[in-house]
Amino acid sequence: MYWNDPRAWSPFDELRSLQREMNRFFSGYENGTAMSRFPALNVWGNEDQVVVTAELPGLNPEDLDVNVVNNQLTIKGDRHGDKPAEDSVCHRAERESGTFVRTIRLPYTVENDQVTAKYENGVLHVHMPRHAATKPKRIQIKAS
């Protein structure tokens, strides 16, 4: 497959995502929740573009910092823990707050200045078109 960069794949990443999935499945909110220190990402792509999505509930767009350099995407942010009311007593606090960061390698270099990001219903979407210079080019073969 065209996006298979052998350096981008690591068995440890595979194991970590399996562990995350299992934890989320069995214990729900403990570990591997929607919100964690290293948020889980889904990466979608085809020959022309990559889309990265992440579940990051309860943020304001200004708390999020999305950076793209060549083929590296970094998503940083800070979730502030806030009380729902000033005079309330806390009985249970499962939702995590604090900073999070995640860097991933994209399958190809993208156009840095055409990257768009959207934050909707607590889900971040980053849309990145492929850099024109890295697109596969069909070579015409001339017959002599």
Partner: protein, 131 residues
């Protein structure tokens, strides 16, 4: 024979229908005020129409279906999370004024406000001193 086969097919279809996706337990914070109980859930990818809140006697059930994201014409290169249904049940010990329950959804966070019924609110007891 044919009937039985049809029944069997129907049964299979029904059993597949019982679950629409994976179920997840949303993380929740529970706070209490003098006059209300406040519950906050993390529910990313959920829209207002997909949230279902039920209070049956003392059992509160919140469920919400996440909208699935699948960009058209693209393949999943790396999948670390899946979408499904958030579901969680609580038993509420106090009496709740069920007419005035408020729910607010913003940026994937659901805030529930369950006001306590009049008889469940704390009352300050006046102490009289014998003269």
């Amino acid at each position: 024979m044919k009937d039985r086969k049809e029944n069997a097919v129907q049964k299979v279809e029904q059993s597949e229908m019982t679950r629409t996706g994976k179920e997840y337990v949303p993380a929740a914070d529970i706070h209490e005020k003098d006059d209300a109980i406040l519950i906050r859930f993390d529910m990313p990818g959920v829209t207002r129409e997909d949230v279902d809140i039920r209070l049956d006697n003392s059992e509160l059930e919140v469920s919400a279906k996440q909208s699935e994201i699948k960009p058209e014409g693209m393949d999943l290169i790396m999948g670390e999370y899946e979408t499904g249904v958030f579901r969680r049940k609580f038993t509420i010990p106090q009496l709740i004024d069920r007419e005035n329950i408020k729910a607010h959804l913003r940026n994937g966070v659901l805030d529930l406000e369950l006001p306590k019924a009049e008889q469940a609110k704390p009352r300050k007891i006046e102490i009289t001193t014998g003269a």
